[in-house]
Symmetry: C2
């Protein structure tokens, strides 16, 4: 591989000049510049990122820190959309994207290794229950960092997330407008997840606007997987006063509820209305297609990454959480309740 010395020699200039051409510094004559560029072309020269990283203080790499089992991550299409958004921006900025999965077992090695080895200019962390340690570690080392998605309490700053409150409010209001009065809720894990608390708050306030309150017996918890939605919905559907509608706090759990409903020979939406959250591709494929709350996941990733670059470039010291709007998408899983 050709180095900057080879180029310099071939163009009969110093490496300084080559470097200047590379970085488009002024004060290089047009003819010299042309000669250098020509030499580069002839030698198929590309500057070594590693050397650049060592001398400049840039690595041109940002890490995407995913603090769960990849297993879990990759089963969540919502997160995949976020990644797409991140990649979209890093690519545009000519940056490289490191996929860094912090397994529970070796949080201290998997990504810490990366970050403290000075290999990255910044990091995007996907927030979850336990993601905080990672974030704090980064902050301590002064590495630019933006957290995205499920927002957690410990890092109120440099976060981009969706309007969870509003989403839940609209989902439930949609059901209320249709005439439902007895509404079940399948929540995600509530511990440490502000997102879930917010959705719960949205649910309650929507109910309150109709003079209702959430029956504790109709509130159950899952862990976002299809399976958990299936499991958690059992008590709801077996409840003597079965709800006429269920709001599940993500689509995968909604799919689980749907499966259970089918097992109980309940028709969705005539016997049971169902609203999800996220709007993953799956929602259009199940029967019936799910009414849900669309989260702009791709945009989430994009915005987070744009902000990250502002931090990296010191155009910004920190920023207050950015909230992206969500949108109700009405498909076929909701309808007027059966008259009792």
């Amino acid at each position: 591989m050709a180095t900057i010395y080879d180029v310099a020699r071939r163009a009969s200039v110093s490496t300084t000049t080559v470097s200047k051409v590379l970085s488009n510094t002024p004060y290089v004559s047009a003819t010299t510049k042309a000669r250098v560029l020509e030499a580069m072309r002839e030698l198929q020269y590309t500057p070594s990122l590693v050397a650049r990283g060592l001398s400049g203080n840039r690595t041109y790499v940002v890490a995407l820190v995913v603090p769960y089992e990849l297993n879990y991550l990759f089963s969540d299409p919502f997160l995949l959309e976020i990644i797409r958004g991140v990649e979209d921006v890093t690519n545009e900025k000519d940056y490289n994207l490191l996929l860094s999965v912090a397994r529970k077992s070796d949080q201290r090695s998997a990504y810490t290794r990366l970050l403290r080895t000075g290999y990255v200019d910044g990091a995007i962390t996907i927030e979850t229950f336990e993601g905080d340690e990672a974030a704090r570690d980064l902050e301590a080392r002064g590495i630019a960092r933006v957290s995205v998605g499920y927002r957690s309490d410990a890092n109120p700053i440099n976060n981009v997330h969706c309007d969870d409150y509003r989403g839940a409010y609209e989902a439930v209001t949609h059901l209320l407008k249709l005439g439902h009065r007895r509404i079940g809720v399948v929540s995600g894990p509530a511990r440490f997840m502000i997102a879930m608390e917010e959705r719960l708050r949205g649910t309650q306030e929507a109910l309150a606007a109709y003079g209702l309150t959430l029956d504790p017996a109709l509130l159950v918890y899952g862990d976002f997987t299809v399976e958990s939605g299936y499991r958690a919905s059992k008590p709801l559907l077996e409840n003597p006063e079965r709800p006429t509608a269920i709001f599940a706090m993500n689509d995968r759990m909604a799919a689980g509820v749907l499966r259970r409903a089918q097992e109980y020979s309940l028709n969705v939406p005539t016997d049971l209305s169902l609203v999800g959250f996220d709007d993953i591709p799956l929602t259009g494929l199940v029967e019936p297609p799910l009414t849900t709350i669309h989260q702009p996941a791709f945009r989430l990733g994009q915005v987070a990454t744009q902000k990250l670059f502002e931090l990296i470039n010191d155009e910004l010291k920190q920023f207050e959480p950015i909230v992206l709007p969500v949108e109700l998408v009405v498909r076929s899983s909701t309808a007027l309740p059966n008259q009792p």
Copy 2:
């Protein structure tokens, strides 16, 4: 961040000695070693990967080159499983994984930038229609490379893929055993994709074993998306001699066929049996759950990456394609044909 100099000073030794401790070279006395390790601990020292990369000739990074629109990639759960497998091994080897998406538009920049900047020790490429240029480029630069998945013609070496022939053979044989004699096929794009040719060959030979041949009118093509399955299956279902079974060469297209069948009020499996390929999570969620061919995608990624490390470590010069077995998974989308 502490450097090797800081450690050396603190332990009152030279950087050479620190480096020796780091690499476990002999000829360092136990007491000195202990002192150095102590200094490292106190300073929270981690060697800079970048500096190491420059002097040694290792970057401890491997790239995962995905030569399509990320857009496309992330809608394919099968590929995600491959990635999981790759990550599993890179993590174990203390390597870092760079996600490099070579968009059509800028093949010359997105990943070329990466590879020819000497930023990676090796690369895994996911093969597709146009992935070859990437592979050849890598080879030319002498960078270790393994291709995985959909195998392409131009790179018969250093590839890991599944037994496409066998999968198709078993899928069709399953239908034949049930009694189906008129079987439609939704293929993927055939151009340059050996995988598809192999599946077609498997189909034909399975039919041949029952004294049948594939009716050209029952062979249609999609592009792996749900939508394309929906589109491509139209002529099949409108055919005056409608097939009693359809073999779709991936699950997403099978889901598209399923949707079309439902629109035509055809019951699956009683009116139409359906077999997919890949075994992505979706197959268990649609109604009815799809019978399909399971590809060990996770394993695919693992094996490819293990091989990559052998290449990187010069334990291997190159290797013949590795074929992983597939498995028929019978769910609820196949049944005996209706008696005419």
